[in-house]
Symmetry: C2
Subunit: 196 residues, 2 copies
DNA sequence: TAGCAAAACTAACACTTATTAGTTTTTTAA
DNA sequence: TTAAAAAACTAATAAGTGTTAGTTTTGCTA
């Protein structure tokens, strides 16, 4: 009989969620079936239900784990004793690093949140909105304190968050760019531009 | 009997493709059914097949129309007599405008291309790669000619294209930012940064 | 080793899916 | 007005969906 293989510190549910993130990333949530997931996990579809409640619960799990991770981090950064520019830089770097480490989960959270049911969907959107607000406040304060040009804070947030999301297209290959270069250059372009 | 309503210059297939783009955008390709699309068009599901070949053909239509639009434009810009910075700026502005005008199609093309079958999938990826190469060449030439800082061109392309894609999150509402401000500020941040 | 709970299994459910076949209605053109 | 073509319809197909019920196997603890 097949069995779900758990490493240490991982419940069987954790294993399923991780595999689900990987599957949802490559095939999208709607196009992934529980039978596929089961095969991926190495077990029959119905056996999954001994550990999880439903397919949509998997998506919720993925989205909220990721969402909370980002929220916690920006709350921490907000309260540090540094310039606003430095704080914004820290946010950008955290994004890039988290995305590189937890690729599947972040990707799915960014792309598939739409398919959550209420009330989870609304909760998730609220978390995201409040995150964007926090970043916007950093920019607004930076402008007031003359660290930052008088740009539109909404557009700046949009530009930063979108750019950072884009490392999902980053090709991790030898001939391409390392994470360090990616991180440094992207931070630099977003803060100082590329024009000489 | 219900009928597909075509305006002038639009075939019935065009109408279906446009409605499909709108549906695929809001529900994703896989989660959209032909019955839903049919209802949206105002006709029975099977009637759609008098005008289109299959569901996946709709996706191909959307993705390639968009892809070709961008390719044509960058080819045009490449051959103009302007500085590289100006060319890059023109590319960014075209992206933002096209996205604002043809939101549904661009959105679907960006998000749902994965679900195309071969050989269309490969063709599409080739188109996209060659587009990225063109933009990368503009940046490399700009660096050689000392218009642009010696940044990593791959990262610059990634940053620009990702940022620009992000206007899909732009909330078109009165209290928010206009397209003009969005466009100008984003171009400015990507080229000159926000740090004073 | 016996008993029990956890976790696997098989089989089935009620629905939904894209698509096709065959038929009827509508529109176009002679 | 009539014949042909276009475009709608109804009905059905075969395959796939998430999930549940009931049963069997496994692994731990007394």
């Amino acid at each position: 009989m097949a069995k779900i293989q758990t490493g240490k510190n991982n419940s069987k549910k954790d294993v399923i969620v991780k595999k689900a993130a990987s599957l949802f990333k490559s095939k999208s949530y709607s196009a992934s079936s529980m039978r596929e997931l089961a095969e991926f996990v190495g077990v029959e579809a119905s056996s999954l239900y001994n550990h999880i409640g439903s397919k949509s619960e998997l998506l919720q799990e993925i989205c909220f784990r990721t969402g909370n991770q980002f929220t916690e981090q920006i709350d921490k950064i907000k309260n540090e004793q540094r310039s606003n520019i430095e704080k914004i830089e820290a946010v950008i770097r955290f994004h890039i690093q988290t995305m590189a480490e937890n690729f599947d989960e972040v990707y799915v959270s960014n792309h598939e949140w739409k398919h959550m049911d209420e009330p989870y969907l609304s909760d998730f959107l609220n978390i995201r909105r409040s995150y964007e607000k926090s970043l916007m406040l950093l920019i607004e304060t930076g402008i007031e304190q003359k660290e930052i040009k008088p740009v539109n804070p909404y557009v700046a947030v949009l530009t930063i968050l979108s750019a950072v999301r884009g490392i999902e297209f980053w090709q991790r290959s030898k001939k391409n760019v390392t994470l360090q270069v990616l991180e440094n250059d992207m931070v630099n372009q977003l803060l100082n531009g590329i024009v000489k």
